[in-house]
């Protein structure tokens, strides 16, 4: 099965909990198994996305950092 990146969500400059809320909203429109990439600059988002993924069951496939930008790759639970 190939995974396709369904959407990239730019949450740079937004403070918490905006990135989480925007991601939750965006995931609503995706199909199970779709990947979404989230870019954020809020340092709190690292912990928040890990906890959010654990609670909601949407898998956090990847969490990385490029300079001041944090990048999260999430897979909608299917």
């Amino acid at each position: 099965m190939t995974l396709t990146l369904a959407r990239t969500l730019d949450c740079k400059g937004l403070s918490c909990p905006m990135p989480i809320v925007k991601t939750a909203q965006a995931l609503r429109q995706l199909a199970p198994g779709d990947l979404i990439e989230v870019l954020a600059t809020d340092p709190g988002s690292i912990k928040d996305f890990a906890a959010w993924s654990k609670m909601t069951g949407n898998e956090l496939v990847e969490a990385g950092q490029d300079g001041v930008v944090f990048r999260f790759l999430l897979k909608k639970k299917g």
């Binding site: 403070s15 909990p17 905006m18 809320v21 909203q25």
Partner: protein, 377 residues
Amino acid sequence: MPARIVVLGGGVGGTLAANLLQKELGREATVTVVDGTGMHIYQPGFLYVALDQANALWLARDERTLLRKGVELVIEHATKIDPTRQTVELARGGTLPYDYLVLATGSRLDRDAIPGYGDTHDFYSFEGALRLREELRRFKGGRILVGVAGIPYKCPPAPVEFVLMLEEYLRRRGIRENSSVTLLSPLNRAFTIESASKLVQPIFDKQRIGLSTFFNVESVNTAKHTVSSLEGETAEYDLLVLVPPHRGAAVIETSGLGDEGGWVPADRNTLQHKSFERILALGDATDLPISKSGSTAHFEAPVVASRIASFVRGTAPKTAYGGRVMCFLETGGGRATSLRFDYTHPPIPPKPSRLWHWAKWAFNRAYWVTVPQGRIG
């Protein structure tokens, strides 16, 4: 010819900016405040009114009484701003030309953004606080859910303060034992700011206040008494209290001066509109990633006033906004803590104490004769 300065909005930010501008510039400028109601509302008081701790009368004053003599007040709704012609259109057909415009238009509640919102209670408006007070007076016990129906919203600590004070209210009324209180939090903790969250969590545990994490309200069913989240959960309630969704003012949206939420794109330090340098914004109206609160507007107003005064005189601006915010957080039991922070320094809240509770009360009481006039900064 004196510079024409128009201030849209007679809340804390607009009133203070107008007074400071008039004081600083005197005859070098005409300062006009445009406000749709002509009434100044002290919104932090809603919380106390809803919980029957204060009379609603002290929350409203005539805006005229708060403005310096030299400031003109136009009690009318501004309907459109033309940033190229530099004019503001008024609801009854008049037009005000400006050289500098201050957008202190605040935020408005957009209950329709949540499907099924109906007559869900809130403490974010005068009417809402009074209606909730009546509902609570009649309340005989049951499941109470308190949540946030949209982000950003004014005064981020308010839902936490509300549940802590509500718990105390229920105990005083003798109906705590047959009631449950649960906060629906957008995050995995009680409050966005982690240090404050850590301080509040033990109080939640001690007072048996529930916390439902990652519950971002998506819809309400008032007939079935249920509320559902974006995360896919549904909870039942007997009494639901929500912070309604917020948007920027209608005049910002109809004039095409805001982003998708109606918030004004402003420079985080100069507070100037990102596309129109003669327009400055403050308080709730901006898109800045800081608290929407009276405190923010209070600290931004002197920056806006000082920068406009520099433009009028052709001198270099002396001040910039560093993201300063200060607020009190009631933790119940007659105790409170305080949060002081800016763009680069997160808050380190002190242990809740009676001192901060009284400081908050003293501030509430002294507000009318200090803040709008610029007596405390």
